[in-house]
Assembly symmetry: C2
């Protein structure tokens, strides 16, 4: 077994452990992935404020360095732990396991896991989440699914953020949708704006039942092999 395969196998074993730990407590875990600056933390801040009182929310924050994002989340009113990956470009299942022990999310709660800002590495690592959400901002260009196919193939939901900037950038939502669906024909795509609040209701509706992409689960070994 190659080194990369052994690391992934160990990761997947611990990811399954995390998944069972979460399921036993009826905790819904959503893994948020995007480029740096697409708006993961802003979406979480807004979500925590808007859902306050209706649901317990906590957050695992992944970043190379700093506690900035965990502090933003705490100011918004949710519990958060920060995981710093140093030179690492993604969260893995052991990091999430340690964070769960520190965070102790409430039974029945919603747990967000904000991954390191990166459209490459996080796609390959199962961390035991129930659903993967990929966020892209309209400023990044509509060709991104073609250029980062592993990430967009792994998404259960694709959020297209910053739609308030559409008048000022060249972003063709129809072309983006066609590119994403060339990878995953039925993938859910949700354009919204954290800044203006447009379509946030659809996001909150999805969060009540975070559906897993029909094309994607369960993750099979051939699929993992293909991703290498």
């Amino acid at each position: 077994m190659a080194i990369g395969e052994a690391i992934l196998a160990k990761n997947d074993h611990l990811a399954e452990h995390n998944r069972q730990w979460l399921a036993a407590r009826d905790i819904t875990a959503v893994n948020l992935m995007s480029s740096p600056g697409a708006g993961k933390t802003s979406l979480l801040e807004r979500t925590i404020i808007d859902l306050r009182g209706s649901r317990s929310i906590s957050v695992i924050e992944g970043d190379q360095e700093t506690r900035l994002d965990a502090e933003r989340i705490q100011r918004a009113g949710a519990r958060a732990v920060q995981v710093n990956t140093g030179a690492g470009c993604h969260l893995d299942a052991p990091m999430v396991q340690r964070a769960l022990n520190a965070l102790e999310p409430d039974p029945g709660s919603l747990l967000f896991i904000e991954n390191v800002g990166n459209l490459v590495c996080p796609a390959l690592f199962d961390i035991g989440e129930q659903a993967k959400v990929v966020i892209i901002s309209v400023t990044e260009g509509d060709d991104k699914p073609l250029k980062y196919p592993h990430m967009f193939s792994a998404a259960d939901l694709i959020v297209v953020n910053k739609t308030d900037l559409l008048p000022y950038v060249d972003f063709d939502l129809e072309a983006f949708t066609a590119h994403a669906r060339s990878l995953q024909p039925g993938v859910l795509i949700l354009p919204l704006s954290v800044r203006s609040g447009a379509e946030l209701d659809s996001w909150y509706r999805w969060l009540r039942h975070p559906a897993i992409s029909a094309e994607r689960r369960p993750k099979s070994e051939p699929e993992l092999a293909k991703a290498k």
Copy 2:
């Protein structure tokens, strides 16, 4: 020696080989790094068009998948080779060596190496370039140097792109500058807009003499060790 160190040592050896190969031909090689969608390819397209006739330019394009960027560069009028990294999150020195053999840049020319869109991995790999340029878009937020310190510590020049969008986003250029200079006190920061053309003259001026950051070169072994 740990596996990671051995890989880096082999990479650095080949990077030095690339650097000598380029120097022997008086070729200036600039490594462009950024998040996905910050505007690397757009900046190159515009640069190729604006400098047409005054300087020979060629491009090595790095992406996980597709030849889209190489095709954009070729349409703009420069020679380009595409390197696809598959699941890999950065270019390395062996990839650049192979690309140089295929591309055969003109003696005395300007060579751009557009890395995979990623603010983490590419920072750790010397590819034999003369200067590293990190591009950030104002839509990504002014906290990025703190959250991706390896990348911003490695930059000889930081380009802040999409300044035409400043009226519509929360981006504090003074705060950004302070964050970047907390990592590298003297680092050059160049705000511009590829879309509007603002400050592109400064970019072309810098390209005539791509200065290496005083704080950064030569890359010492303790610095490499610290980056792990």
